[in-house]
Symmetry: C2
């Protein structure tokens, strides 16, 4: 056995490329959401590892026959669920090369090119986002960027840095007084990180948002929460603001939130996991106005910037805060370069020791496409989302539930439409002659809201079970909304239009049954 | 721009495969340890991202001209530093396929095949390691395995699970009483995880090891530490035992340590990051005898089981402990499969939400090579290490510093040899006529030890600066030892012999200068 037989690398490598070309060519034909049942694979594979080798052809056949049916096709043209996982040829090449080099770039000396490319590329991306100079290595004032796996990791690392920075001032014995703030729209990663970092669970402060203010965090609400905590002897420590929340892509007002936070020495982190990809377009950059007042900023280039999983880009203003918390200096990694303080050792910016040559993906993406094209690519997704939004708006049975900022459309069958269909069974409490707007206001009572949610949930199930498209859902202010997230690399306008027609068709079917019930 | 142009995927994909075939073909010719200076790349790349696309050929040329010189070649035949990062064609194919599918397998429904393959493969590997049934899914008693990125993550996740389990019994207010135990040879990941999890830094208990007991953790020392902590009102919580420590691959006695720990309700984790790869061979399985008494076990298949970075395999006996700590259930991820409790949602077994289709790599490795070949491959590395060890032993100027168990040889120029060369400058305190063994005992005084270390450190620098091989070092009981870690996929016996000749040559050169000084 020679596990790096170069003849086999070439033969299998070409075959795998061909397999993937074929996969992408046919991906639109597969059910987007896998239709298999739990435990399906256990039946199809042997219960223990084989003793003897099997030919690559057999493996590829098993992939086709057994694995592909169990895939939910995130790369399909018709994938509109959750957030995109955006692949590209350039990202793929970067990943291949990184895997091929197989370096473990924990410190500079372990592969100088890995660290230095990351430094350069993080500055490139920071510039493209027009991040303040203080976040870039090139400004030489202690800031810089790092590529982590995920936003969850970025939040955990910055939270630990903030926690330790605060405890250095007020003493370790006050750990249980530290408070973490985020809105009820923040990603669950914040609560999970808070828990992992040993912050008291009662000190995870959820700031309520409202539909009337588009589910953004109100600086006044934040201030009230802070003041209340201070009165109770707690110590405000960390705020996570979100630009592009998971459910509705709402945008917290960074500048005003920083204005509040700065008076209390709170570390402000901005999580732009999904939306960050659009911020390279000058016309969207205003969404992070005020970012100069924050301590750290992160987004997932693998979601919506073509770099394939997993690439979370994190910038910090004072990298010493990170490294104070996460540095380790075991003898077996000591080396002259690290001791010269002339180099970055990225192991001290993250949880793990190991790290691949992460930055190659983004380096290939930038150079293969160029910034101009990348910007237009993001704009095109947003344009398609606008198309979908317009189609929804033209159908009076539907409503756009929250303003659309980026490439996500949150919509639902409107309560009004359902009430109209329900008419025969109305108990008379609704006056069907009043103006639409008034009616809409009135029918939001518990019973109806429940029915509206049920119908929208049923609609989404039908749409997804069709296998033709895959969308997901969220719940905000009690309302079940359908999320159509545009951003798969292969999606074109035609797919968006077809997707809408599928939604419409099932809605007609449901509503007609309702009316006939 | 079409970032998933299939013609380009094929064209660039083939070119990248050819590039990597070429890279591996030539890797022995590059300096193993990169010889560039800090900041070298900043000079060679533009200071901002390009606006316009560049041809793939230009990128590949830049990789060749600018990136490759900055690579420390972990895949070289002549790489003997740190631990292996073991690549294979099968692992590479798995990574390509995983990247190509681009699924985000956070829960079952997000791609059933990703979760189910992982369940199956983790059971396969668990069986190959002869882990107790209770660690396998197939036994249906609540245990199972998960693929994480790194050991650091495995330790953090299990530590948080142990922390929370303990706090559920004794109350959250006792967080600062929890104590974590590991030996002074444990990986620094343990201390880092302890810190991240908010355990009081003074409660990280380092159990001293000794050369006389091969740097293994003594159950008696553990017991003393526990009793001392109990006397002081502390609460023993977590023990990390290591099978194959980073510096010397020493093996903590799992069974006896568990016997101590079980009386105090301590969670025992076994970190076999490096050595785990060898434990699939029946003749080495005894190193984890007693593992049935532990709570969790992890090792890095990317280090020494051909699965490419990064694949840490973690098994837990009670998965509910992990999921109690790490579960989240946001509305936007709710789905019928998860609610049926018939499926595993791996997001609840790890820190992050996102995860790739990790298990494909190991699935390809198992099936492409078969267990018999894999076992022989590990044996062959160990055999080569024995060859190196024998060569060291035959040269009286050197000594093997600790027993060799796996494929790492820890050696140094012996104090005796240095003293012999130093003779002309001896101040007379050493009696050069005594028996070697006695002399060796005597010369370990502060001055000599410093000189011995300095010489060995100098020797290692010369060896590594030659670019011909790359080894690393460690320090145990004050002694600087050179580590020759055999495990790169391409390494054959001839490379090990050449490596030894290089070491010998530089040693001769250093010692002769010393004698002439």
């Amino acid at each position: 056995m020679n596990p790096l037989d170069l003849h086999e690398l070439k033969r299998q490598g070409y075959m795998m490329i061909d397999f993937l070309v074929d996969y992408y060519r046919n991906v639109a034909n597969y059910p987007v959401l896998s239709q298999v049942q739990p435990g399906y694979l256990r039946e199809l594979l042997p219960s223990s590892a084989p003793s003897k080798p099997e030919p690559f052809e057999t493996l590829l056949k098993d992939v086709k026959d057994h694995i592909v049916p169990g895939i939910t096709h995130w790369q399909s043209q018709n994938y509109f669920a959750h957030v995109p996982s955006s692949s590209s040829v350039a990202g793929f090449m970067g990943e291949m090369l990184s895997t091929g080099f197989g370096v473990v770039g924990f410190n500079w000396i372990s592969s100088p090119a890995a660290t230095e490319t990351e430094i350069i590329v993080m500055d490139w991306l920071g510039q493209a986002l027009k991040l303040p100079e203080c976040f870039l290595f090139s400004s030489n004032v202690g800031g810089g960027g790092v590529m982590l796996g995920t936003t969850c990791e970025a939040i955990l690392c910055t939270l630990v840095a903030a926690r330790d920075d605060k405890l250095r001032h007020i003493g370790r014995e006050n750990l249980d007084k530290l408070v973490v703030y985020g809105s009820d729209q923040a990603h669950f990663a914040l609560q999970k990180a808070t828990h992992i970092a040993g912050i008291h669970p009662e000190n995870f402060r959820v700031i309520k948002t409202k539909k009337s203010s588009s589910f953004t965090m109100s600086p006044d609400s934040l201030l009230s929460a802070i003041l209340h905590d201070l009165e109770n002897g707690q110590v405000p420590c960390f705020l996570c603001a979100t630009v592009g929340t998971t459910t509705t892509t709402s945008v917290d007002p960074i500048g005003p939130l920083c204005d509040v936070a700065k008076n209390y020495g709170i570390w402000v982190h901005v999580d732009a996991a999904y939306a960050g990809g659009a911020l390279i377009c000058p016309e969207f950059r205003h969404f992070i106005n005020g970012v100069e007042g924050t301590n750290s900023f992160s987004f997932n280039a693998h979601q919506w910037l073509l770099t394939n999983e997993t690439t979370c880009c994190l910038w910090v203003k004072k990298s010493s805060c990170l490294t104070n918390s996460l540095s380790t200096n075991p003898e077996y990694l000591r080396n002259k370069a690290s001791e010269s303080n002339q180099v970055i050792d990225y192991k001290d910016w993250q949880i793990a020791l190991s790290r691949k040559f992460q930055s190659l993906k983004l380096w290939f993406v930038f150079r293969s496409y160029g910034l101009d094209n990348l910007r237009n690519f993001q704009r095109n997704h947003i344009k398609m989302a606008k198309t979908f939004e317009d189609l929804v708006k033209q159908d009076k049975r539907f409503e756009i539930f929250v303003p659309r900022y980026f490439s996500l459309v949150c919509f639902r069958v409107s309560p009004l439409a359902i009430t109209n269909y329900k008419k025969p069974f109305c108990n008379g409490t609704h006056n069907n002659n009043v103006h639409d707007g008034e009616l809409r206001g009135k029918i939001i009572n518990d019973d109806d809201e429940h029915l509206v949610n049920e119908i929208n949930s049923k609609l989404l199930d039908l749409v997804n079970d069709s296998g033709k498209v895959y969308m997901s859902h969220g719940k905000v202010e009690g309302a079940f909304v359908i999320r159509c997230a545009i951003g798969a690399t292969l999606t074109e306008e035609q797919h968006v239009i077809v997707a809408w027609n599928i939604v419409k068709e099932y809605a007609t079917s449901i509503l007609s049954k309702l009316s006939k019930a």
